[in-house]
Amino acid sequence: MSSDRLLEIDNLTVQYRGDVRTTTAVDHVSFGISPGEIFGLAGESGCGKSTIANTILRLLKYPAEVASGTIRFDGRDVLALNGEELRQFRWREVAMVFQSAMNSLNPVITIGEQMRDIFTAHLDLTRRAADARCAELLELVQIDRNRLKAFPHQLSGGMRQRVVIAMAVALRPRMLILDEPTTALDVVVQQEIMAEIKALQAELGFSVLFITHDMSLMVELSHQMAVMYAGRIVEQGPAATLHRQPAHAYTRALMNAFPPITGPRVPLRGLGEGVRLTRVGDLQPVGHNHWSAAVSHEDRERLTPHAAGSEGGPR
């Protein structure tokens, strides 16, 4: 992979260490994100998507630790940043919209005060100057500036989500991490929020690491994407290619986990017992800019449709 990437993750392994056993949440994962690119990371719960996001921002806490690998942001080693450097790095360089972000606002403080914190803490602005910036920011996400005085419960779910996104782009970061930004919202609001993010991205030109389990949404939005399974990347490539010609059985299964909105109605199988992989091999090139993990022989046997197990059983 070339070195003009904004973010370069190389061979990253993250483990949760316990007294009895150690769980490897992220297992030798490598990928890169170019400036201005939207990179999608797909996979079901527990596959390590959010752990990667937390590692980039150095938010991992005991018992999680980085066992091997490097994360470079614009050439700098993120894992080696000290306290003050880290403070400068977070939010100014990389900002994040957390999962269920609408609940991450403090319910007893007005949103104006919460937004003001960003400017007073990072830019040392006066309260008056910070308030002016907050108002601009709200208008950027199409919310009336009077709403600065509102408490989170006075806003709808979609508006709260917009406030959180506005807070994430407040310092014009060069990269935005979106961890399931629309999971709790209904389709229409979800689509509005994604439009908002796209418009902001066009205006401010940041890169995006977009984490979701909704493959359709991801294919619509992302340039590049990777599919994760049990801490490993099973397939990686341009989103359109992955959608048209998924090379890995798990990618196909994940795409089929959502019923389509067009075409004939066919019975689908969940991602239950039928698509468990025993081990995920290393990525091999399968086309231009497109890699897929090798499937072991016994997995291939089990994954062929006619030999598949029960539909969507308990995990």
Binding site: A239, G270, E311, P314
Partner: protein, 341 residues
């Protein structure tokens, strides 16, 4: 509806208003504005609409968790709002069961799984000893869970397993109708299809009638025979689920369909245009289902139009709808332009 058989469950002109403001304030919020829904025996009807459109209020009224302001709820042709004016009888509760959205909140964490099922059985047709135990195992088998899990606590189960327990609890009393309020929206992608398949198999095997409430059109299309689209407390369009998504006649339905992410559309994806369409639908003050800002269509009673082939029972409620010769795709759109010009 022009069906010969009596629907198992039907609402007629159901209205629910919530008082707004403080004590003595007269303002009300109309959550349901005269809803007519009917469920034939063994049918799955999906009720779709965005948050706040009144889907859950309808389900809560039908299960008698809320008292409707006016209207009728008919079970097998009998209006239970007159026969059971204030409380639902135990018999009604047995026949109409509900599955809630959040399986993490609907199971009491201090009880074992067997408790939830036993309690439901105990309240309705008591069994004891080995008969009870057999029944519990049978229920667990019906929802594809291991009988050993009866001794587990809810926190030991995954979200999908918990939702299956919630379905088993509803099944314990042999209901005729199950209302499922967004049963999959809190679940992980890997188990959603499993729960939908389970609901489908229950209908196929036991003939249970279901009202599936969701905002996910794709899953509604996958599971349901018919879809009713709800907006601002009213049903604006209903019809065969394949038909309604292929030929949405109401602008709001069209908007919902266009909001579903579709990878096939990657090239022409223009979310801002669709967001604008939504704003137009939402901003119209007079008519809850008016697609055009400058021409509010709500003057009097809304009417229902039949769309296309009448055998498909595809109905739309909008003054602006005029059937075209083609009898289908986007018949409304040219009409709006006509009015505007």
């Amino acid at each position: 509806m022009t069906d010969n058989s009596t629907p198992v469950l039907e609402t007629r002109n159901l209205v629910k208003e919530y008082p707004m403001g403080g004590f003595m304030a007269r303002r009300t919020l109309r959550a349901l504005g005269g809803v007519d829904v009917s469920l034939q025996v063994g049918e799955i009807l999906a009720l779709v609409g965005e948050s706040g459109s009144g889907k859950s209020t309808l389900a809560r009224c039908v299960t008698r968790l809320e008292q409707p302001t006016s209207g009728e709820i008919l079970l097998d042709g009998v209006d239970i709002l007159t026969t059971e004016k204030w409380h639902a009888s135990r018999n009604y509760r047995r026949r109409v069961q509900m599955v809630f959205q959040d399986p993490f909140g609907s199971l009491n964490p201090v009880h074992r799984i067997s408790h939830f099922l036993e309690r439901a059985i105990h309240n309705h047709h008591p069994l004891t000893g080995s008969a009870l135990h057999e029944r519990l195992e049978e229920l667990m088998a019906t929802v594809d869970l291991d009988a050993n899990m009866l001794a587990s606590y809810p926190h030991e189960l995954s979200g999908g397993q918990r939702q299956r327990v919630a379905i088993a609890r509803a099944l314990a009393v042999n209901p005729e109708v199950i209302l499922a309020d967004e049963p999959t929206s809190m679940l992980d992608v890997s188990v959603r299809i499993g729960v939908l398949n389970l609901m489908k198999s229950l209908r196929d095997a036991k003939g249970i009638t279901m009202l599936y409430i969701t905002h996910d059109l794709a899953s509604a299309r996958y599971l349901a025979d018919r879809i009713a689209v709800m907006f601002a407390g009213e049903i604006v369009e209903e019809g065969d689920s394949m038909e309604i998504l292929a030929r949405p006649a109401h602008p709001y339905t069209e908007l919902l369909v266009s909001a579903v992410p579709d990878p096939e559309r990657t090239g022409s994806y223009d979310p801002s245009l669709r967001a604008k369409l939504r704003q137009q639908v939402l901003d119209s003050a007079d008519c809850p289902f008016d697609g055009d800002l400058d021409n509010p269509c709500s003057r009097t009673e809304p009417v229902r139009h039949r769309v296309g082939d009448s055998a498909l029972r595809h109905l739309v409620r909008c003054h602006l709808y005029r059937p075209t010769a083609a009898g289908g795709a986007n018949a409304l759109v040219p009409t709006v332009d006509e009015v505007a010009s």
